[in-house]
Structures are given as C-alpha cells and as structure tokens.
Symmetry: C2
Subunit: 397 residues, 2 copies
C-alpha cells in the first residue's frame, strides 16, 4: 500500500525528542529505577476514601444521569464551582458561562492550537517551555520564538523585542506559576507588563496554570488573566495536580466569543468529557475542602523539594547550578556549557536513575546542558539515594 | 482585536446544518417535548447497581492507581477484554496490541481524519451518513463522495464507480450495522465485496460500528474487518450503546503500524483516556455478563421500534415510506420528493415533537425529503403520542 498518511504527520517533533521520549518510556517500565523524569503526583495523596463515598452517593442519587451523555461545555455545577472557588482565588472574575470542561488541560492547549494557529504563525514561549504544549501546537505548523527567563520569569525586554520582530505572532504561551520545567514564577509586575505588551502588539496570551495552587512559600499570585481587560487571555486549568489526574478534568476560562469556537471543536472531537468524573469533581468540591487537600499535598511536596535540594547541595559538583522553586513539581539543573544532559542520562540509567534532558523543552533545540528533576513522585529515601547516584554520575564527567 | 482565528475554522459545516443543530439543541432544553431527535440510550437501562459495587471494589483495592495517570494506549486488561470478547464476537482476530482506547468512538473518527486526510482528499461514504463523522472529517478539508444505498447497504456498483472516478480517495467510511441514520445493515456479500474493492483501488476502510451488538433479528454479522487480509480496515468501536455513554470509552482496532500514529496523536491531544472509567469498564466485563446487559437493552429497544413502526403505519400518510431496522437506535422516513423535512420540523416543534431532518446527514446537502427517528430514548406512551402528533403534521402538508 502506498503511503496513506496525511502530510501534517511529517511535521512532528524532532527525532531527538522522540528518542528521549522513548528512553523515558523505557524508564517507566523499569520499576526498580528511581525516576525523577515524570510529572506524576504522589498517588498516595489521592482522596480515595472520599472518592468512595462520593461515587456511592452519585450512583445512588443520580446514577442514570451520571452514566449518560451530557452537554459539550461541561456540567454547570462543576463550571460554577471552578469559577467561584478556583478562578476567584486566582483573582479572576468569571461565571460558569466563561468555563468549558476539557479532558485535562492538555486538551485545552491542543484546542487553542487548532483554533488560533495557521502554518507559519508565531508562538512566543518561555525558553525552556512545557514539552506537552509544544507537541500540542506543533501539528499546526507554527514557528516558535523563545524568550529568555531569569528568576522572575520571562524577561519583558526580550519579550518586547520578540513581539517587534515577529508581527506574525498569534499568541504568547506561558506557565507563570512554578513553571514546567524550571519551577520559576513570574512576578506580579511582569504579569501586568505582559498584558500591556500583548495589548500593544495585539496578540493573545495562553496562560497555562496547572501548579498555581501548589504553593510552598508566600501567597497565590494573581493570574495573568486577572489583569486582562479586553479578553485576550485564555486561562487553561486542571485538577490533575490538586485532585486526581486519572479523572482527566481540566478547563478553559475565556470569553463567550472564544468559547463558542472551543465548543464547536469539542463537539466534533469527542462530544463531551466523562460525565461521572465531572460529577465526582463537583461533588468533592461541595462536600469536602479542596484547599485542605491541596495543603496536604503541599506539605509532602515541600518536604521532598527541600530534601532534594539539600541532597543536591551535598552531592552535586560545584559547577552545577539549580533553581529553588517556591511551589509546583519540578526543579531545573544547569550544567557547565560543554556538558550534554542526554549523555548524562545514558550514564544515569546505567545506575538506575532517570530525569528528562533539557533539550526536550526547547522547541528549537540548541540547549544541551540542562535537565529537569521531578520531586513529587519519589519517596524521601528514593530522593536521597537517587540524587546521590546522580551526583556520582555528574562528578564522573 | 483583528480576527485571530485560524483559517481552518471557516471551512466548517453549512450554516443550514448549524441551524438544524441549534434547533435540536433548543429541543433538548424543552423537557415537555417528545424528542425522537437525539441518539441517547435509555438511562434507566444503565447497570447502576453493578457500577456501585465495581467502583467500590476498584477504589478499595486499587484506588491510588485508578485515580492516577495511565498509559496513552489504554489499560491492557481493558484492551484484552475488548479483543477477546467484542472483536472476537465480530469475527475479528485481534490482541490487546491491536487496540487503543479513545474517548468514545467520536475521538477515534477525529483521529482518523487527522491522520489520513489532506485537503482535497476524497472520503467516500454512504448517502446519507453519520453526521458526527462528517463533522469530524470536515476540518481536514476532504471532498465527500456519497454512494447510494438500498436495503442491503451501500450499492457496490455505485461504490466502484465512485472509486474509479476519484483516484484521490483516502478511505471509505461506513457504518455497516444498523446504520446511523437509516438503520440499514450491509449484507455479508457486500462486506466481502467492499474489502475486495478497497484492495483493488488501494484505499482504506473506516468501519464505524457502534450498534453491531444491538440485534433485534438474526445473528451478529461478521465485521468488515473480519475479511481484512492486508490491514486496510480500521475498526472504530464504543461502549456508549452497550454499557454507559457518560464514561466515554471507545476504541480503535487496527495494525501496529497505524496504531503508532494514533498513539502520537492521542499523546499530544489529551495524553490518555480517564483511568477510572477504563478500570470500571474492564471490571464490569470481568465480573458481570456484558451480553446479558446487551440483551436487556435489546428487549426494550426492539419493543419500542415495533411500537413506533406499528403506530407509524396507523398514523402516517400513505405517501411516507420508512425503513424497518433489524437493530440499533434509528429508523429513516422518506417523504414525497417535493416535501422539505426542515419545514416539517418547524411545524412539529409547535406540536412539541422533534426529530432530525435528513439534510444533516448528507455532506453535500441536496436531500430535503427525509428525516431520522430515534426509538431508544422515549417511553412507550411517548412514542405513541409523539408519532400521532407527527402523523397529524405530515397529513396536514
């Protein structure tokens, strides 16, 4: 049979990124490996007992509806709780009409690519940026322009330069809170400036905020969307890091004009998100205290992050630097410029320890001396042992 | 703000189809309406009690995993049960490796469009055809070529003509069993001939089979895929009509070469399908008798179909003809050529009864004198009353 595949399939990611992903997949199949590669929450923190009573209650009181088809936008009770609890906490005034439920925030990102990107359009993003967003946008053929960060997030002068040089920009993609992969948080001043610049150059902002509630130090910062006065910020949220990722419940928060387009896409793509999972999430927010659950998660992740950093200071060679995240799931290691973290990974895997090489997070490649460490999914003793092993590998270079 | 949307958004469906969909949406919000418009299973037939014990068991024994991220292809235990129970019943030899779990079969159809269709490629389909498949393929810009059906399904001479005239054909899309919207079933002889023709003209076949198990008369016919000797049939299945649609569990069955492409798409689009819902479906198939559940559904739908046809014979004018489906959820009414079913719908809605005008199911339009009736979701007395009202409208024309 001749090649049947659509041309768009050949415009995927680099073969190197594919190789890394293959390597990491191999990693996950080796249970004895200490892996700092994934972005998995700790399953032991899931509210299993509460879920038991919730599912029982839903099936007892409303089973026929819970297992039936439901509307494309998502259940109103869930959209309302998201607007009134989560979006409000982030400083965003929204109602249920501004929210659409998606299968995780990943689906929202993919929809955003589909709705806004023509081939050759420019996406401006942090350098490095979330690999899942890159792969979601890539099939639509954009050019990625990366903007450097410092410890306060995207550097605004560099962003303005990028906007000036790329009149074809459709949107700026950013993870402002405890960014994946670096753990860096954008300051409030820069959030305001970002919205000003988006207005000045008439582009949209895709705010991707999966980690904003996982705060180790200080208060929740106002979302970029809270500074949005002319509907140019599209907020992407998810319950995956604050509740249960397996339920695949995410959301979009935006204006009705945009939501209408998202709804057409959602309808044609998968009709709707799982009804039962939506009811479970809504009832959890009603019957239990989501914030208390988040605080429980925070206590564990903060301790693990501290332990990881402490062990890194003891075990890593002095020529390695790393971020000190104030929340989230990840931190970011920088090696001397002549080192290649993909090579480090190969050696680390021989010692049964894994991470994600930084190259995966740069849409245009060209950065070899970084890697990402996840601190949410391994136990304390695994963190200490894994970091010791990694230290040995790094010292041997 | 200038128009930010991607060009592909403007290549959507006709405004008439949009109007019809808007009308039908309005219908669903009017609870006092007797609606034969949707394709909803009867929620009272869902195995709610069984789901209670299943969810309790899963959360008690494996809660942390059930609520956690899981693999992109889907849970192996579920894929295995699909291969060994459902695909085997349809005459298809397959293993878990040939199956990928999707969010309903709608997602599988959308993925197929994405993976195979370039702009201007030809999709050959039945005339009329499933509207959800048309809207899933449409964004990829294909040309639809419709092939006439008789009571034995797609007419093979017309299909060969279409294949001859359209060397640019990528795939033939078909719903062989109790087709949506007509209720027509393709004979075994034609299934074999379809595969021969696909081979001769080197095109793929997308077999969409949501209703194949809902059999009122006779045996389950072998799937088209059961005659596939060189991996050109991609089978799209779903639990929505035989278990619980709200769980959004569908699947694809195809060769590894193709599945690899579907996996890349699934990964970038939404990572994976809901873990809990997959476990629930797998455990249901293990602990309970899916066939017994299907038989319970069949008994109710068969009775409703019989009642609807009996009432139609009594109440509809003689110039209306209609199909006599041997399974599924739908039947198809043909009015005299000069009648317009969209006009009929407007009058019917004044009498608080609804259906879907046939025009929605013709990708190239041009057919105004048909409509689809659903017989699965309304109770007996609603069926009788609704058909009586419709009869009055039709007689008044």
């Amino acid at each position: 049979m001749k090649n049947k595949f659509a041309k768009r399939l050949s415009t995927g990611g680099s073969s190197e990124a594919d190789e890394i992903i293959a390597l990491i997949m191999k990693l996950t199949e080796m249970p004895e490996v200490i892996s700092f590669a994934g972005g998995l929450p700790d399953g032991e923190l899931f509210p299993v007992e509460e879920m038991k009573s919730i599912t029982h209650k839903i099936l007892s009181e409303d089973g026929n509806n819970a297992l039936q088809y439901s509307g494309t936008q998502g259940l109103k009770e869930l959209r309302q709780s998201i607007a009134e609890q989560i979006m409000k906490d982030a400083g965003v005034e929204a109602t249920a009409d501004n929210i659409m439920i998606t299968c995780g925030s990943q689906q929202g990102l993919e929809f955003s690519g589909r709705i806004f990107l023509d081939e050759g359009d420019v996406v401006i993003c942090e350098s490095p940026s979330y690999v899942g967003a890159i792969t979601a946008f890539q099939p639509y053929g954009p050019k990625f322009v990366e903007v450097k960060m410092d410890q306060d997030g995207m550097i605004m002068e560099e962003l303005e330069e990028a906007l000036k040089n790329n009149p074809n920009t459709k949107f700026i993609y950013t993870v402002p809170d405890f960014q994946n992969p670096t753990g860096i948080t954008m300051t409030v001043e820069r959030r305001k400036r970002l919205v000003e610049l988006a207005r000045k150059y008439d582009v949209l902002i895709l705010e991707d905020n999966p980690y904003g509630n996982l705060i180790f130090e200080g208060e929740r910062l106002p979302a970029i969307k809270s500074f949005d006065t002319d509907d140019r910020v599209i907020y992407h949220g998810t319950f995956s890091k604050i509740f249960c990722p397996g339920l695949r419940i995410g959301w979009l928060c935006t204006t009705k004009e945009f939501l209408d387009q998202y709804l057409v896409v959602k309808q044609s793509v998968d009709l709707q998100t799982n009804t039962m999972a939506q009811k479970e999430t809504a009832l959890y927010m009603k019957m239990f205290d989501l914030k208390a659950n988040v605080n429980k998660i925070i206590d564990v992740y903060r301790r693990r992050k501290d332990l990881m950093l402490k062990t890194m200071k003891e075990e890593f060679p002095e020529n390695c630097s790393f971020t000190h995240p104030k929340g989230g799931l990840f931190l970011w290691v920088t090696l001397p410029e002549d080192k290649d973290s993909s090579e480090v990974l190969k050696k680390a895997m021989e010692m049964r320890v894994g991470f994600v090489p930084g190259i995966a997070f740069y849409p245009n490649g060209n950065h070899r001396n970084n890697f990402r460490l996840n601190f949410s999914s391994m136990k304390d003793e695994q963190i200490v042992e894994g970091i010791k092993r990694l230290g040995k590998v790094l010292k041997s270079l």
